[in-house]
Every structure is written in C-alpha cells, then in structure tokens.
Symmetry: C2
Subunit: 345 residues, 2 copies
DNA sequence: GCGCCAAATTGAAGCGTTTCAAAAACATTA
DNA sequence: TAATGTTTTTGAAACGCTTCAATTTGGCGC
C-alpha cells in the first residue's frame, strides 16, 4: 500500500494493543508471564500491522547473534558442500544459522569474510583456511570472536580444530595399491602448497620407503583439484606408449580421479582397473556412481563440519570453562572396482 | 587477553583519540571532512583498541542492510551454484553481500528463510521458488521488503521476475532429435509439479504434435532431478530388450542425463549416440566433460542470477520510480556428441 | 587586532529492541 | 477490611551507531 511509511515497530504494536512495549517484547519472546488474554490482543495487533521484529535492534541489544560464519575455499567441491551441510544441521539443532562464505582459494576474499563476520558479531567462525590464518585467529580471539579450524590442524592453544589425518590416508591408499600387487605408481595432485595434498603425498611416500624398493612413486602436479585438471592428466598418461603406463594412479581427490577416468573411458584405450588401477580421495557421492565405481579414501565431511560447529558452540556458550581441542579423524579405505585386483589376470 | 571485557565501541575510540564520536564515525565512513592529522589519531586508537564496527547498530540506524537474500531449492545442483555465483558477482559490484538459503525443495524451510531474511531487514530477496510464493511475495512487499522471482515467471504487477522459456527449450531439444531422424523418444524427468519440468515436456509435446505422427513421445517420471535418479532410469531402459529401446532420450536436466549415461556406460550395452541418442538440459560445466560429451539446452544460469539481482537493486534504490519487469531468456541448443547423427549409419 | 568565511569538530537525538526494578492489579487469608 | 503474597504490567535505561544543526577553529585580508 503505502510503501513509504515507516515499518511498524514494537511500540506501534504496543499502542494498538493498549499495552506497554515491555509486554509486547515478552509476548514476542514467549515469556510465560503474560496473561493469555493479553497475548491474544498483542498477537492480533501484530497481525493487523504486519509487524516483523527487527533483528538488528535485537542483536544490538544482545551483543551477539545466533549465527555462525563458515568460510570454505570451494563450495562447488562436493566435499565442502557436504561439510557445510553437516555444519548447518548441527548449527540448526543448537539454534544457530550458518552463513557460508566462499573464497575460491583467494586469501583476499578469505580476509574479507573474516571482517564481514566479525562486524556482524557472529557467534563464531568456522574456517577451512586457504592461507595460514593463525595470526588472524589470534587477533580475532583477542577481540572476542571465537574461531575453529576445520580440515586443518591448529597449533594447540590457539583454538580448536577438526582435521583429518591426511598422512594416514595417503598411507592407506598406497598400502592398498601395493597389496594389489602394483609397483609403478603415480600420485596426481596439486598445488603442492595445499597442506592436505602434501600430507597425502607424504603418507604415500612413507609407504614406498618402507617397501624397500618394491615400489616406485612418481608425482604429476596439477594446478587445481578439479575434474578438468584430472582429465588433462588422464589424456597425457594415455597418450604415452603402453609400456610407460603406471600400474596404478593415486589421485589427490575424487574430482581429479573422475577426470582421469573420463579421459581413459573417452579414448577407450586404458581400461580401469585392468590396465591401470585408480584410487581417489574424499569418497564424494559421485565416486560410487562413477563410470567405474571409484575406490577412495573416505572422509566424513559432514561429521567434520558438525564437529567443528559443536566445538565452536561449546566455546561460545561455556566461555572460560572451554578447553581447546584438536580432534583428528582417521580416514577409511573404500575399495571399489576401480582398484580391485584383476579377476582373471 | 581479557575476554570478558566489553568490546570497545566507537566512544572508547573517541575518548582515546581525544575527539568526539561524530568524528570517529566520519573517519569510519571515510568522509573527506576530517583533517588528515585527526584521521591518523583516530585510526591509531582503533588499531590500539582492536575496534571493529558493530554492524547491528549501523543497520539499526540505517533501517536497511546492504544484503540480499537468495533462496534456492538445491545448491548442490550446479545450475543453482552457477546462478548464485552470478547473483553474488553482480551484488558485490553494487555493494551488496548475498546470503544464500538452501531449502532442499522444502516449502517449510522456504518460508523459514523468508522470515529470517525479513527480520534481518535485507535489502531484498531473490527466490527461485519451490511452492507458489505469490501470496508471500505480496505480503512481503506490503510490509516493505522487495522480492524478485528467478527461474519462475511472476504474474505481472506482482513483482519482477527473470525466467527461462522452458517451453521453447523443450521444443528446441525435441526438434533437434527429430532432425537427427529419431522418432521413438522418451522424456525423463519429474516431479511433474516442477513447473520447469512440466514446461519442457509441454514444449517437447508440441513438437510431436506438429510432426503429425512422425514422432512418438513417452514419459518416464522421476522423483528427483539427480544423477542417482537418472542412473535408475538408465538401468531400467537398458534392461529392456533392444527392440524396445527408444531412438533417443530427452532428460529434463543434465544430472539425470549424466546418470543415464553412467548406467549405459557401466553395462556397456547401450552405446550413445549410436544406439540411443541423449540430450540433457542446463548445460552445466560437467556436460562438456561427461564420458560422452553431452548435448544440452543451455541456460545462462549466471546471467539469470545477475539479472535478478540487478532488477532487485533497481527496485530498492529507485523506489517508486521502478517498474516491474518480466524478463524471459531464450535457451540455446548445444549439440555435442551424445546426440549427433551416427556417422556411418 | 578584527571580521569574515570555510573547514573541522561536536554532541545530542534517535533507530527498535531487551531487560529489570518498581508499580499495579489481583487473589488469598486472617 | 486490612494485610500479605502472587501474578502482570510498566517504562526508562541501555546497546553502538549515524546524522546534522550548531559550534569551534583556523586562515586570510585588511
């Protein structure tokens, strides 16, 4: 109707209902100390005026908001979509909304979201960091905003963190490949300064070392952890003459593995697993339904997100009684067809 | 340090810098009417105290926030991820942050986000609706919050909308399949009450009708538009005896098409496009890199999102001068291998 | 030193809530 | 009826910011 008019406030409601603003506030917050008849009158006035509570004012008074900021490097990666879902679910059950900030691996944008969330006085921040955020977290905390690291281990005493044991995951995948009788193996992944990638590679290397020459590991670096990057590597490998093919490929994540799979399938030259075995990492939903069901190292992404939020909420609500914890989950090997021992060979 | 202490406010800064709070505010808002020396002093005080502006207070005063709420039914669908990206980019260039609410096709959650966003006094709401939101939008608008529909056409006069011509898209795909010489065609998709799906099917049907008996269209309904649902349909079709196979399949979106493709490839029975041609819808990034590059009907998802935000911002900023518009984009046929005419046949 | 103008700074009002001590209304008992 | 206890209601004081009319300061010409 009259779009220019001020939106009705709590005091407009009070006036119309013939009560004080304190009473309206009590009704809004469902305090049980208001007489039912009064409640009705107030609700009616609210309805009539189309009153909607102003969250900014509420927050200003409260000093804190029932919101958690989640910063992730790449929301289009199913691992993070899943992680976010876990965070949202646990947040909701504790009465928090989760706001997602997507950085695209850009440190600048990461800092932008730290700022935005701090200005909004979110209850706390969960971050899967792109760059080293230790200093930022320390500062943030000094100013009174809590933070929890996810998918990255924190230096203890700084803050809580929920991470995966990527080194163990790398070992798991590599040991599996060796057990299957493979010895010439290629690790595909990058950039090298992604901690997770580096750890997985290190885990794999440790197995090679322990095998005392029974296995050999090469590393093909990629600029990204995407399907497209995987596809390029796959084409590159299948273009080699057959004798240069590895026995197996360990991809740093499932997106890469899927890309490799696509390249192989498209050219119909390399058969998986008969010619080259393949294992990925993350066990995204898509792995199971890939053209050849993909072996992978499962990370409980949803649980990671949920646990991070849980720790954060604990910190926010228990205050000084809270103690920082570094939780590390162990990954789990999921064997599917892409890395199975050739049946008849 | 002392985490219990109140966070510093603008007046703490003012006191330390020896100026009035008005001046501090001017510095924060980079008004040019402050002497450089004063600016320095204030900035130093801000630094020293670790002051961070309280956004709630700022918003309360302003009455509006520089935020736009975006409500989508399924953020894990690349179409919506892309749409959101477009919305974010345009929003950012106009100085708005975009908050994303994911409903999972749940009308209850959709209403929840409407409420949340309204309480937060967002600048406006962009929604790709799950249920009919006409009434909600009308109410919202009456109370002073603007909204724009995306991927769904609005009844004119209600609000702006940015949609795709799904009927035309359905025609496009179908005409292409007929041109390739196919006549027995299956449309895969559902639920039937998704407007987009219904429109695409209607478009396809209109072509069949115009063909005067040259073509025949069946409909296999699915409960979701996911890879998994597609896979099931694919298995079902390939399980049929060869003579019951259709010439071509038109999938209501690319996720379904990819699932179908997977089922066919896995069982190595049906060849695409030699045995059955396949076309999807959306042209998600993944379509091009699918195991058989997937023909599709391109929707400029990013542009949809950006345009919706553009209309919303126009409405918010120009107020009464704004006129509602219903923008409809035309989809574009993208022919790839999955539907090409068999080379030698 | 004076007057004048522009530039810089001030400070109080107000945004819409929540909170909480105090007041009012009502109920119960002596 | 008065005294007492209990349930409701009240209303003013924050919360931390922006705004803007009013005031102060500083520069300049005379």
């Amino acid at each position: 109707m009259n779009r220019s008019k001020r939106r009705p406030s709590i005091s407009d409601v009070a006036r119309l209902a013939g009560v004080s603003i304190g009473t309206v506030s009590n009704v809004l917050n469902t305090t049980d100390k208001v007489k039912p008849a009064t409640v009705d009158r107030v609700l009616q006035a609210i309805e009539q005026l189309g009153f909607v509570r102003n969250d900014a004012a509420r927050q200003l008074k409260a000093g804190k908001s029932q919101t958690i900021g989640l910063i992730v490097p790449d929301i289009s990666n199913p691992f993070f979509t899943e992680l976010a879902r876990g965070a949202e679910q646990l947040g909701e059950s504790d009465g928090y909304s989760v706001l997602i900030g997507n950085t695209g691996h850009d440190a600048e944008r990461e800092r932008g979201y730290f700022n935005l969330f701090e200005q909004q006085r979110v209850g706390g921040i969960v971050v899967s960091p792109t760059e080293d955020v230790t200093e930022q977290v320390v500062q943030l905390r000094k100013r009174g905003t809590n933070a929890v690291l996810v998918d990255r281990k924190a230096e203890s005493n700084i803050c809580c963190s929920v991470s995966m044991d990527d080194f163990a995951g790398g070992k798991l995948a590599m040991e599996h490949l060796l057990e299957q009788g493979h010895s010439e193996i290629i690790f595909v992944g990058g950039p090298a300064d992604f901690q997770q990638v580096a750890d997985r590679l290190a885990g794999a290397k440790s197995v090679v070392k322990a095998s005392k020459g029974r296995a050999n590991l090469k590393h093909i670096k990629t600029a990204e952890l995407t399907v497209l990057a995987g596809r390029e590597v796959g084409q590159q490998i299948s273009a080699e003459s057959r004798k240069n093919w590895p026995d197996a490929i360990f991809a740093a994540n499932d997106l890469l593995a899927v890309g490799i799979l696509q390249a192989f399938a498209f050219q119909a030259k390399v058969r998986v697993p008969e010619d080259i075995a393949l294992i990925g990492y993350d066990d995204i939903d898509f792995a199971e339904t890939a053209i050849v069901p993909l072996s992978s190292v499962r990370q409980p992404a949803s649980l990671l997100g949920a646990t991070a939020v849980e720790l954060l909420v604990d910190e926010v609500e228990r205050g000084p009684a809270h103690k920082h914890r570094q939780i590390t989950f162990q990954p789990e090997l999921i064997v599917r067809e892409s890395s199975s021992k050739p049946a008849s060979d």
